[in-house]
Symmetry: C3
């Protein structure tokens, strides 16, 4: 089950290394370095540019755009919108990471505006963020999912992802203990990863970046989203095995190590994907 998907993921990740797509990130200043390094480790050429005077120009030469509102500020909202519209115009895939949606009115209204003005191809968030965007009751703990939302069963998560994917006409990815990816028709559950990933800042942002990297080398964004999430989950498991007991600093270094060594053999051996 899921064999066809795994094969496509493996091929896509090879294509990324061969094509070395250019991925434009408008993102936060907390985890931006990690996003750049994990994209390089994946074989992507990252570029960060957020001034309105160049953001659309940079998007124009890029193969994918990743928008992340982790440290949202007024200066860059217009850049996100301008880049998003340019990407839409040129059919460049747009990944949106609505970090902390639900935590402040500013993030909520900006998320709403981005979803209204930009056609998003992949929306990736934690359960609290995705429930909030779905208009469902959710509680958030800053930029982390709340414990009550994390206890949502997989069945609930599948419904939330599917419904929102249909509503927004895009791929919706909810990451957590189990990850759920849906395009509204096809839905998969991914079970790679380790709890320790939640104790390193930016593992969500990095997953969104990886999705952007993967989508930069394909038109099948459903597979692109799965490829990014599976890469991070497996990298987490490999690093946990090697460095989990040493501590969080070494574990974090090991994630980048594992992404830079990721290949089809590793994925085929370790991937845990289930089609619904």
């Amino acid at each position: 089950m899921g064999k066809e998907i795994v094969k496509k993921v493996c091929e896509l990740l090879k294509d990324v290394r061969n094509q070395k797509p250019l991925v434009h990130n408008i993102t936060n200043y907390v985890t931006v370095n990690d996003c750049a390094n994990i994209l390089l480790a994946m074989g992507v050429s990252p570029i960060m540019a957020d001034d309105i005077k160049e953001s659309a120009d940079i998007t124009k030469i890029s193969d994918a755009l990743v928008i992340n509102i982790g440290t949202l500020n007024e200066r860059t909202i217009e850049s996100m919108i301008a880049s998003g519209k340019k990407a839409n115009e040129l059919n460049i895939p747009v990944v949106f990471d609505p970090v902390g949606s639900g935590a402040s009115e500013f993030r909520n209204s900006t998320t709403k505006r981005i979803l209204e003005e930009v056609r998003i191809d992949v929306l990736r968030g934690n359960m609290s963020e995705i429930k909030f965007i779905s208009g469902l009751e959710s509680t958030t703990k800053g930029v982390d999912a709340s414990e009550s939302d994390m206890k949502s069963g997989n069945e609930e998560g599948i419904n939330v992802a599917k419904n929102l994917a249909n509503k927004l006409n895009c791929i919706v990815a909810i990451t957590g203990v189990t990850d759920i990816v849906s395009d509204g028709k096809r839905t998969v559950m991914l079970a790679n990863g380790t709890k320790m990933l939640a104790n390193v800042t930016g593992t969500g942002c990095m997953t969104s970046a990886l999705i952007g990297g993967a989508c930069g080398a394909t038109n099948d964004y459903f597979i692109g989203a799965i490829a990014g999430i599976v890469s991070m989950g497996i990298a987490g498991e490999i690093s946990f095995e090697k460095s989990g007991e040493i501590g969080l600093g070494s574990f974090r270094v090991g994630i980048i190590d594992a992404i830079s060594n990721m290949n089809s053999d590793v994925i085929i051996n370790m991937v845990k994907v289930q089609e619904i």
Copy 2:
């Protein structure tokens, strides 16, 4: 001596892991990733948000606020003030790290303004910064303490900390070879750490973040300040022992490793605290 304090520190650090407080950081873009990761390693949920349109909203849902002026800019000063006032209103502890005070008129006047408009609970800086704020003659070397100020004897440091604590009615922590923490009445000297900590960027910022994390789980900010400083000092010693000879990159990784493994046994074995 100091046994009661050590016991309280151990209990507090356990409480942090159990309560996982949310700590709002308005900080610089040089060391922000390190601050987020060290807070996660301590068991804290960090959030960074600095736009005036949301900063007070984020403070409102947080358990502590850390203000750091390491890369001060006009855009975020108002956010620092707004968040500080909101924290004061809701009795949320405020930690202030006046990075580079004394190095430019802009930092000096902003430090003055923050101290006037926000009630600070813990002020942590190096000897040059704290002397400058005290109105004493000091020389500064950018964001580092000057050599002449670092040679201030412990007796002078104790007086500086005590007097400023009484003047500002807050906890004052001077970190350096020996760390001094005073609430104006009680004063302790902490002797953990290694010189190598001065060769990694952000060890001061990270200490302030750890203090914020600790204060997010207690009302006893004197113990909170000690807990943060002791954690960093011991982590530095552990990492130095393990990686000091390998180099500064590995040493830096080891600091986060050690914070993530910090527990009562480690603290009781290694802590060097002296009540004055």
Copy 3:
């Protein structure tokens, strides 16, 4: 050949550790932490400050200024100009890293403006950036050199560097598989490094920072540029030897380790310098 140069490089790097110059960086938020840490590892005291209200004040107390447009934004352009002019006034060396020149009109016009209004002492970029600034045909891939430009022969690179050095009356350094440094009269080729350096974000920025650190302790900026580039190249080789097979995360940590251990013996053993 190049023995005199190597001797001067070794002496300079010793002077840096003894003098601990203060180096002001106005740089991007992607790699700023790496720049701070590599400067500390070199023995430099880094300071980052980019607000117009203090940038010239900070430059004034510094021993070198590094301007990097990696995440260029309107807010800091004026700070770059003001700091650059202050540095010129006080004969403080200015290193300029025109990240991504050629990739957007905004970067192009800002690069032009900086070169017009500030006297640059060392200009360091990849082949695409330097060719673009020279007014030659170039293609760029975001912030990375394009493959076609990277295939420029050494002879072409030498001519480009020499001509631009004469035109701008400064040191021009082109870094790539082979690095070329020219002051218009003297030219050297440096052959240290490993391809893996291109897969870690900020190795270019860090090289510019190291050049700034070196120039902060000498008036011979030609040697300063060589010292910075040689340090990074050798650090890359040492880290590759030790951690290349482990992965990019460990390789990145090893670069800082190697810089912190850099000394004359290492340089004399490993340096590959050729005077033209």
